[in-house]
Symmetry: C2
Subunit: 149 residues, 2 copies
Amino acid sequence: MPYRRWKRHGHRHGMHRMTEPRRCIMKIFEENAGHLSAEEVFMLANRYLPNIGMATVYRTLDILSQMNYINKIVSYDGRARYELVRDNKIHTHLFCVNCGRVFELPSLSEDLIERLKKDINGNAENMGIDVHSFDVRIQGLCPECKKNK
Amino acid sequence: MPYRRWKRHGHRHGMHRMTEPRRCIMKIFEENAGHLSAEEVFMLANRYLPNIGMATVYRTLDILSQMNYINKIVSYDGRARYELVRDNKIHTHLFCVNCGRVFELPSLSEDLIERLKKDINGNAENMGIDVHSFDVRIQGLCPECKKNK
DNA sequence: ATTGATATTGATAATCATTCTCAATAATAT
DNA sequence: ATATTATTGAGAATGATTATCAATATCAAT
Ligand SMILES: [Mn+2]
Ligand SMILES: [Mn+2]
Ligand SMILES: [Zn+2]
Ligand SMILES: [Zn+2]
């Protein structure tokens, strides 16, 4: 179900009712391009809903992920990040080993992705595994941290 | 410094002394091909060193990683895995969304890796980032979990 | 609009992997 | 053998995420 429809009161998505915290958090992702931690989402939501609780943030991030409105990204620093689902391109992310932030890289060229898919699906068939998704991850220093080193 | 030399008493690696727990845990990785969690390493080490503590396991995994004898892999289930460094190939790992285990896929073809490297390094240059390493990750079902579904 | 069934909330406690603290011990240099 | 100091194991502490639960808000049926 597209988010536009669910956004209005009176439109449930399965068992999921539309509520203020959910609308607010979804709005935050629509207005922020980056890869936000739960804590960052909490602080942004807090400006509009001063009583919102951390538990609600986590619960909402969870169902928005399930609904495929946002992506959950598990980083190396022990905290997850979330981003709005904008397209179905394979994301290439940089995980900064210094500050822990996640950065977007330009997507790989179409034919490179095609060859990756082919290669991976071939191996998957041989091994008897079921591929849901894949991605490319880079570890290194973000522009800011590279300077200050 | 190669592990063979460090393995003997009286041979330090910088400030790192050679001790029973370190020898034991390194041996465990040499004898186990898989991707082990700290808990799994602890249980295996426990058979030889009944008094070993969890803190020592974590500390040892940490310095073995720094020494580049083992790789640390951050999984999606909130616990890290570790594997012996055997070569410098780009690892393609399957992270089973059902059981949380990590599996090795055959490495990508040489020229595919070369093209990936080129593509990534090109983007890295433009963005002013410093690439330390990269890898391809698959999320899906392992052979075992695929059957039992 | 009012009602009733129930999904959601915020506060708080609990969990779980990992890290820290510290006094006792073991590994190396002399 | 002795002195120096890195390492250990036990247990406490941390920090992100989940679970619990009574109060509240949403939505479908009236
Ligand atoms: Mn992204
Ligand atoms: Mn591997
Ligand atoms: Zn950084
Ligand atoms: Zn599995």
